[in-house]
Symmetry: D3
Subunit: 294 residues, 6 copies
């Protein structure tokens, strides 16, 4: 297990750097603005596992993209960001995994970096949100997802991917959660979505975000928000989703906000032999990197 550059920041036990690295990233976090790390965990996945391979796949295909983004007219080549590697976790129960995520996120924040987490299943998000919200109590959580993820428990587990947002609400002081165009859930979940003001249709996105101008934002991208046509490699595909122009509109909307932290989760690359899911996830990651280094 190699951990080049991490010994200087006391994180050498936390991460494993034996895998590939995201295009253009450094191992040493000094002078960087963003700290990318992977959480190869899919222990509570109930339907089709494999998101543990997500972080590695995103890194491997990233070199097939350009570093320049025409939409934002900015280039990764001019920026400094670190890829810290894979978080060391134990397989089995999710609670220690969520704890490890929280500690890693806190360490990254302590280093002065904005955390960008690559999953792994969605249950890991609450760990990262908890760490960021402790530093930024007015944090707003924006969720791209096909599913509401508001169950209290699922198949006997509370830290399940199907409960991801329920757990996040518990560690988010502001309880400000924007759930963008959710299209699947139980009758109870949709009843709650309609009662609260959390469900945001795409066409209200700009307006709803404007009201939050200046607040720190955590963006969690459950990749199954995208349509299965463009993102077949995910465990619980749901027909009727979104495509790149929809995501690009969100990127536009976020340009003038304070994107403090983010994650990209639920990529299961082995379900998609064509690899287009991994490429989409890498391009999403490139956009987030550029938004977080403005």
């Amino acid at each position: 297990m190699t951990t080049n550059g991490l010994d200087s920041v006391g994180a050498e036990e936390m991460f494993d750097q034996d895998g590939a690295i995201f295009m253009g990233a450094r191992r040493d976090p000094s002078d960087c603005q963003v700290g990318v790390f992977g959480v190869p965990y899919d222990g509570t996945t109930s339907f089709r596992p494999g998101t543990r391979f997500g972080p590695a796949a995103i890194r491997e295909v990233s070199s097939g993209l350009e570093t320049y983004c025409p939409q934002l007219d900015r280039d990764l080549d001019t920026l400094a960001y670190a890829d810290l590697g894979a978080l060391n976790i134990a397989y089995g129960a999710p609670e220690p995994v969520v704890q490890a995520v929280e500690q890693a996120t806190a360490r990254i924040l302590a280093l002065g970096l904005k955390p960008l987490m690559l999953g792994g299943e969605h249950s890991i998000t609450s760990g990262a949100v908890a760490a960021v919200a402790r530093e930024h109590p007015d944090l707003v959580l924006v969720q791209l997802d096909a599913h509401a993820d508001l169950r209290q428990t699922w198949l006997g587990a509370s830290h399940s991917h199907a409960c991801a947002m329920r757990r996040c609400l518990e560690v988010l002081p502001s309880e400000d959660l924007l759930q963008i165009a959710i299209r699947s859930g139980t009758a109870d979940e949709f009843s709650e979505l309609h009662r609260s003001s959390r469900l945001v249709p795409l066409h209200q996105l700009h307006q709803r975000l404007s009201a939050l101008r200046g607040r720190p934002i955590y963006l969690t991208v459950d990749l199954d928000w995208f349509d299965p046509a463009v993102m077949p490699g995910t465990g619980t595909p749901e027909p009727g989703g979104f495509t790149w122009p929809d995501f690009a509109a969100l990127v536009d909307a976020l340009q003038h906000h304070n994107l403090m932290a983010a994650d990209v989760v639920e990529l299961a690359p082995q379900l998609d032999p064509s690899g287009i899911s991994s490429v989409l996830a890498a391009k999403v990651t490139r956009s987030l990197l550029l938004l977080m280094t403005q």
Copy 2:
């Protein structure tokens, strides 16, 4: 071969219940509104076989969907429908298969259930249409399909999937067939489509259906109507097809009609290792179940 619950209705020789069951369905048809059954047949498929695995795949992935449908705001959990299993058929010539489909459909109707058939290739539809049309002579047939399927014969066979609608017209007393946005066929088939008033562009769907208000409807969904991007797992993919919002518009249009019977055919799951085709077919099936139990 197990056939739980069927012995009471005298159908124990007709179906095989050794396979998986559609989410939330019962084996015993008593008190049910809909009778789901599979026809694992692809004997006349000329290009890429595998639709025989369609019914099993739809059932297996169904548990990855929620039982609640936000569009219709209704929940399968509150409804009673039976999954009768797989129709027992002989491989080889299609004629005895079509006959077996007709007999099974008639038996299901006799039990007071609406038939919902999972294919299998499209040639099986004429058997089900024949049985339903005998009870409902004013039956209207609505076809979602990429292909006109109006050939008289194909590669020497009359009960070929390429002749599916031609055979249906022969057993449909009303000859009222709506072919929704067909996009592939021979010059002769398109000539016939344009001469008749059968070809219905998507934007005329509501209006054309309105004229048929009150009439019993049989909806046959050849899944290759969908674009190959969202439905790669079908034998004869045709670029330029439709996506979920288009199907959802049809579901909206059918809410106030009398959907008496339906089928979902031409899923070839092994052509799509990502499984998104099977999930789409299962979601289509969920919508049809909800429409047939209003």
Copy 3:
């Protein structure tokens, strides 16, 4: 969730019978000799997950085999055995899964059936061994496996698949464990194997089993014992394994012993698109069924 036949034996909450059934099996356990059940669990799998799909795959391909076995000259058609379906488990921590396995095995024994468990990952075996050993304290455990599985813990978990035999030894009063031709492990594990008399080369199999004549036997088949060429669909393939004639020799050796219980674990069918791994697992299961019904 359907559970036909189980209500009469009070196990209707324990198993889910929505999936396919093993060829020739019944749902109702009355008058049966063997009770087959699946445990679709892979929560501690550290390398490549997917054994959760093993039980379903074994059942689905079983119909491609004949019911007659030329080696044993016996036919499943003449025997009575039940397929009780899938054990209901929670995803996440392994401990409750192992407990559920123990309770299910005890229930099956109480019904007068010999348990035959389909995995799932190897960590489930200790639950079944515990239940059988409680009734049969002189139980002998015979392990086919590529790996020693004798770690005390693995990646922070004690009920990991890498610790399967360590956990079994803790619940096996006799501590009589035969590890057949293990070919992978740590230096410590091999040191222990060589110190103890547990490691049994293939050519000593007959002789070592003979010494145990009359004792009840639990056979655990980790399918990665087979060579990756014949069993590519497993999470941790290890070159240099065995083929069908080697297994047939074991079947020969076991014909005159008291095979009281067995499991077939670590099939990860999605890793092998050809399906030959599932077919091999089904043929292994057929042999075990025939050995358990003599």
Copy 4:
């Protein structure tokens, strides 16, 4: 549909030459010793279809092999053989397919060529055997197969692949059938195999063939005779099969016999994404071509 060279021999309606060609073959059969043709049929396949793609796959991968065979020390480059293309067949019932095979084989014999048929499923063999046996009433049939294929009917069809040898016996005047090391069948089939002297263990092959010296031989190679490890791409894989050295031994044995006709059937290339099954089938075909041109 192109049929170069066939117009001169009056077979232009019989074959389709739009596909790839076997390495080193000609289209024009003049002056050739062997006539290769494909039968892309899998209409009665009950388990996993796809043998219709077998002939094309064998041709496509053939260029990855050398034309020289070290075992026989002979080179295809020095020989003349024709690839006549794909037999035109109708999908659906098998009877007309078997008839078309018989007519095509007769035509090839009339041209002075030895027929070498690439399948497709095994049910086509009886058509070719019938044509050859009409010219050579003392024809001996040698079968490589995992399965006995002696059922009278299967799933309601008499010309099923599971009945292939039963149908062959009906058109083989000598009834001399050698079934090499069959390893799967019903109890009845094995009872018949043991009663008759047809079942030939591998070690008796040389001796049993010697007794037939001088007689014309038809060799039918059902590729599932090979072990699934080396031939995963077949519809009904059966563990415990054979490998290349076993086949090479048969080639040795046949060197001094009169191999008059042959077929290679049951390759389902899409089940094996690695392509090794197709390569093995092509190498088998190369050996047969060399044996038939001595």
Copy 5:
């Protein structure tokens, strides 16, 4: 190596005709309007190879399409076009491949045919453009592509697929290049695109083409112009692309222009096991064939 019909035109050394043929095409180019040929080359592909299999895949799936095109209301059955087979090339350095393409294109033009080339990687285009531009100095080049392909060199090679358009500009006297809706490139490439007037947004396509009425057009279709959802089988997929209706709009726009030559490149069929990419490429080829035979 067979080359039917080519001996009469002196090209028998240039092409290999052992592979499959595009639907409805002839081998003999006499009296034909278009000459289709394949260039199975991917030697400079830096990310994911496999476009060498593109030409064969397009031909193989072409028979799954109808010969009639409803959009253009024209039928391939009424037209004469030749499929000359695969260009013989050496693997390794790209320069001799580009030269061979140029010679083959010149030969096809000399036969009075319009060339339609199936790739292969994009680096081959400059060879064909050079030959056409020598005969038609006012040739306009229209490029469908995700990438600008304007690098001077890439990974040390000048004839790389990443430099395809740079090389084309060098052999195109008019330097009239329309780059349709390019969405990926370096900062330098986009700077050049914006400086020049080459970048054509989709909505300006009709207008920009109108200004070129009467000029001979070479259309190069890099299939990664399409969205990865509809074209997953390409080496460098780029999210945010186009779908069939966008291409159909281009076909509409080209109906009244002089399409003199075309190519369809960058299909990597093995990356897409569903085959929808190959079908899309074949349908694109059908449209081009119809446009080139008006």
Copy 6:
């Protein structure tokens, strides 16, 4: 592009360290005995490309193996070896690739390390052999391979994978080449093999190696030497190959020799979705590492 640890040895331009690392290896070569490096090149591959992904695949699956080898009773954990990453190469012509390999090998030797190269196609071997032979003129080359690889040129290229051994002989002063159990080649190649004493049947391996005791050995492992059943993931699979026990016998034989350098080439991991080919290649690499650090 990161190159940790290499700046100290002046090789930071030569290797790219953005990818995964072989289990247990270090990045910094100081104090190491072996220097592993990858050459992701498949530019001359004529049949099925993809060996460029070989080095990455070997590294990724290596963590699924134990570090301890029971055969040699030694453990990688106790040894020091470096993984220097991927050699930077240009795609296109093979000559500069072979040169880069030669320079990299020379640099590694200069650092006091034994080179262990992961391919990539076989044409790269001559570069490494040249560098080693310059330091060790009495170098013996031992080749595991299905193919003779003795062509002078292939498809117009001299540095083709089909000419690998011909090129090696040109840079090997001793011309001592042992070709172990070659099973495929042209008539000319086999004629040369039989004339020379290079072809070594497996049973003569020990004896032939004994005669070379004390001489430095370069072992090149073309993985297609193995049977396609255990190594489906290679470009040119050849039935009739070898399995793990055969390789283990070679390892035994080499224990008392001076293994100075080695390579493992022709793994094409994407052809084998099960991954067993990559695991076998990683286990081969583990054995070589242990042999080279004795």
